[in-house]
Amino acid sequence: MKALLLDGCREGDYLAMEAVLEMTAALAGRADDVEVVKLRELAISACTGCFGCWTRTPGECVLQDDAATVLRSYLGSDVVAYVTPVTFGGYSSQLKMMLDRCIPLLDPRFTIVGGEVHHLLRYRRYPKTVVLGTLPSPDAEAERLFASLVARNGFNFHRTFEAEVLVGVPDPPSARRCAERLLDRIGVTA
């Protein structure tokens, strides 16, 4: 089993970096191969909204940068974990930059999912996905928004994404338990 972790932390964000370490360890206990991608170290440009990945080179972004490598790795994984500081209830801009570049994974044509319009899936198989967020202090509204955002991202892939938020400075065992819990919820076993 292959696992991919998208590290959406900024340098010096020790809380989120701790979450990355514990999620990596949790994945390593269940997967044969764990790839950790530090998004801050890659060259990933902002999506230009040109829809070239749908109408010019279907399935591939017209921009040539590190995002394509991440997308190939994403599709080749059985499980993907995003780790991010919860940012006003959403993802860090670092992680968001990559997620905005994921639209080539979908087919532009519309379909109905759960009563709402979404896009068709381009591929037959996608990895199971979990999202681990961190917050320096309790913030019920941010946690609620984060859960909603992750659930909505799951709808885009016609499936359920699971999320948890680590609040405050966690001791490593509790951060590890949180990561293990997330993997349990999506049925990722050793």
Binding site: G49, F110, E141, L145
Partner: protein, 222 residues
């Protein structure tokens, strides 16, 4: 009153966000508001541009975020700007007290798909010590292509909502509920939007001389 319209679309002045934001700006000007624009994707490419936007942010009485929904949220560069603005306002004990308003559109028919993004903007306003003036959200953003007159009904419902919003914001009020409801009303039946949307993708492919099928799988394994 000084207002700053931040256009969060990478397409800048040829975007649906510009179309909506600039029309709102016209309404604000009609009510005596001085309006400036910031093109977020363009300005954030340089330190100078970023500093300019942050200065404008803090010197405005009203900041309007006009953006397309990207993956259920704000486009990444706009998120980055909000991170920087909140950090700076935290460091400098929040100079001034600008209010924040939002105009967001998504390519799906349902306006409610923008709700999480609006919540994120509202949470940002709270974090940055800004007032919250509300949000306009619409679906079927794919129909906005440069001219309101080409929309069903001549785009009257959108123009009415933007007009009422400009009037309210110019006198320091919140976006009226009536404007929110009218703005969110579907421009056409959902089935028709799906039909024309799906046809539209194919027409764009033909125009772009795409050589692969629409459902191609370039990253398929094995």
């Amino acid at each position: 009153m000084n207002a700053l319209i931040l256009v969060g679309s990478p397409k800048g002045r040829v975007s649906a966000s510009w179309m909506l934001g600039s029309r709102l700006a016209e309404g604000l000007r009609d009510h005596g508001v001085t309006v400036q624009y910031g093109m977020v994707h363009h300005e954030l490419r340089s330190g100078e541009g970023t500093a300019k936007l942050l200065d404008l942010f803090d010197s405005s009485d009203l900041v309007v975020l006009a953006f397309p929904l990207y993956v259920d949220s704000l486009p990444a560069p706009l998120t980055r700007l909000l991170e920087l603005a909140a950090e700076r306002r935290g460091r400098t004990s929040a100079p001034g007290n600008p209010r924040l308003a939002v105009v967001v559109q998504c390519g799906f028919p349902e306006a409610h798909q923008c709700d999480t993004a609006i919540g994120i903007c509202r949470r940002f306003a709270g974090s940055a010590g800004m007032g919250w003036a509300g949000a306009l959200a619409m679906g079927m953003g794919g129909s906005l292509e440069g001219d309101f007159r080409r929309l069903p009904g001549g785009g009257k419902q959108i123009l009415d909502a933007l007009g009422k919003t400009a009037e309210a914001l110019a006198r320091g009020g919140d976006i009226p509920d009536e404007a929110k409801a009218v703005f969110a009303r579907p421009l056409m039946p959902r089935w028709l939007y799906i039909l024309t949307g799906n046809l539209g993708w194919r027409l764009k492919m033909r125009k772009n001389k795409a050589r692969r099928p629409i459902g191609d799988r370039p990253y398929a394994q094995g």
